[in-house]
Amino acid sequence: MRPDSLVGRCLHRAYLCPNWELRVTERCRGEDDLSKKGPQFEDLVEDDVVSQFKKKLEHTNRTSREVSGLRSGLGPVWVVQAGEKRRGCAWHDEEHEIIWLLASHPHESGSPEDSWPYFRELDAAGRLFPTEEDYDYFFEEDDARFFDALVVEADALMQRAAAAPGQEHRTRLVDRIGAGYEVTVVQTLEERVLALSLDDVEKQGFEFVPTILAAFGFEEIPDPANRIGNRAIDPSTELGFMAFLG
């Protein structure tokens, strides 16, 4: 799941592209010559190989050159060139829509320490491609994307509402849930009103409503609301919530 609001962001161990996400295998992250370390993708982006990986594979799933001599039958592995002295290699996992940076190594043509034999040795040892640990991280992050997007989109809507109080601002949260939001400031009190499409909420599941409310800063069960902006909330098609914050 890659909601539009998350595309172009480093999020957890990934960088989200329009058609796939970029990830670095844990083996590469832990063993190879990356100049930056850390659990998040963002921690690594200043490394030359990771930087080139992000730059070259954000919009296309291949580079101009394939790593030759690999035994695994998992499709092409592409060379990621970082200057003259380092090489990485990347593989497109089409089933999960991930491009993995599999390895990174110093490069010196003809030297026994060259990157090509290093990539081939990893492949022969069954250590080049992603492991169960890599997919564990991927799936748990994929499960969280709805919530990541909800936070980003609720924040954006609240900012719009704060910039123009007293009127309804609308969006479609995570491309699934029609929402309207209004903030009215009266002296030191801030009235917040949230309207959600009842039909959309029912499709997503009523049990997600508390999380949607939390994303908008409600921390206790809010009161029902019957107006937002300059209109009435239609109780047959919308859920209205309101709360005052001091």
Binding site: F129, Y135, A144, I221
Partner: protein, 95 residues
């Protein structure tokens, strides 16, 4: 990713189906509109699950404040734990 969506919708429809069926039974005998059915389902959900609603709101607020969406997803929408093993097995088979 499609499997994630399907799983979430399945979990969701399980809870909703209980509520919706009971509302439908009542509405069927009174000839009420589908929009009213949904509204009643929501009202009934709130009555039946008010404590759970409050707990989820508090939990969600705490986890979203700390930026821990991964733990939130594990709690509210846990995925199939066998998925990663299956993905890795496919790779091992091709090596």
């Amino acid at each position: 990713m499609a499997s994630t969506k399907t799983r979430r919708q399945t979990a969701v429809s399980r809870i909703h189906a209980d509520t919706y069926e009971s509302v439908k039974q009542v509405a069927g005998s009174t000839g009420r509109a589908p929009a009213e059915l949904l509204r009643d389902a929501w009202e009934e959900y709130l009555v039946r699950h008010r404590d759970e609603f409050a707990e989820r709101l508090e939990l969600s607020a705490r986890m979203l404040r700390s930026g821990d969406t991964i733990e939130l997803a594990k709690t509210l929408a846990p995925g199939d734990p066998a998925r990663a093993a299956k993905a890795a097995a496919r790779i091992r088979e091709a090596q």
